[in-house]
Symmetry: C2
Subunit: 225 residues, 2 copies
Amino acid sequence: MIATASQPTLTAFDWVPDFARGLVRDIRVRWALEELGLTYDVEVLNAFGAKPDGYVQRQPFEQVPAFADGDVELFESGAILLYLADRHPGLLPTDDAAAWTARCWVMAAYSSVESFINRLNSYDIFNADKPWAKDAREPAVALVNQKLKRVADALGDKDWLVGDFSVADIAMICVLENLRHSGLVTQQPVLVDYLARGKSRPAYGRALSGQLANFTGSPPAGWQK
Amino acid sequence: MIATASQPTLTAFDWVPDFARGLVRDIRVRWALEELGLTYDVEVLNAFGAKPDGYVQRQPFEQVPAFADGDVELFESGAILLYLADRHPGLLPTDDAAAWTARCWVMAAYSSVESFINRLNSYDIFNADKPWAKDAREPAVALVNQKLKRVADALGDKDWLVGDFSVADIAMICVLENLRHSGLVTQQPVLVDYLARGKSRPAYGRALSGQLANFTGSPPAGWQK
């Protein structure tokens, strides 16, 4: 077998319910790759069935994306974003201190914002039929609103979180997009504009189209919409 | 004014309730600094009162730790861990691919494990008096147990997540320690041993002592234990 130049590979799903379309975390990595103008391969997996042999070694939580670039194998979309931004110019400020601020915002998107959004979504989506979900939702909404205000305040009248568009914006915009069902972002006009600004980038459009185009599979047996 | 060599500074709290003692996130940064043998200054803040002027520019969520090292200013303990591990040898594997695996585990600790632990703690600690908390707790426990099993499986019979002790272990052990009230970790003997192994390191002991020693303040007016 003749070795050929390899390009990065990431994993994605072949089908997810409507509420998750455009939100599965491989979109974050696709967006970064598209911004950098890199070509890549996508390995499409069944979200609900058994994963390929050995997948748990590539992705310890058996989620997507897993990512490979030569002999570097990565999991966790946030870490993959940091890797791509380190390896290729264009997604981090050139100033070292500002680059670290951008990395802080990547971590903030995942740890200080998304964790609260996921909690809210656990009530609104995954446990919506439970009698306790409505009450549990209240303090979760308050926390999400508090985090949204913090991000909006930090953004202020800037276009992007740190200098030019960076990996911090990919992380934060994709995290905030997880609130699309809730309408909560509309209470922060700064963030409405920020999301629109990010999502109008051609690279985001290509990333979204790419994820959606892979949903050629079928729901699992017995799936109730 | 004569410039003197500066050392890193981090912020911490002057008082927190018992359930949070040893868990406030500055301990993660202290642990890394102690492992590296670096000296540092601690700026102690009131957790419940107004923060110093301009603190929100240093820490957009007005939490701790904020961190400064020369002209690099950071927030988010996970990002600070990555920064310290980049700047100083000793907390990441020397092999580049393995170092990226360790960074993935830092991100996994925050994003794929801690977010679920925090959700559980929101029922067990912050909303324990609510009539819905007991029901809401059930699916959250199942998710935490699933994540614990994943981490235990990944650890297997290794001492540390990636090669020698690394920043990945600081992140993961501190995240898992947030379950100390719940007893859930005891169901994964691999993780019980892992936590004991990490917490027996002298640097962890110094980090813990340092955090506890700063709790010289008083609870806010009207505090009910």
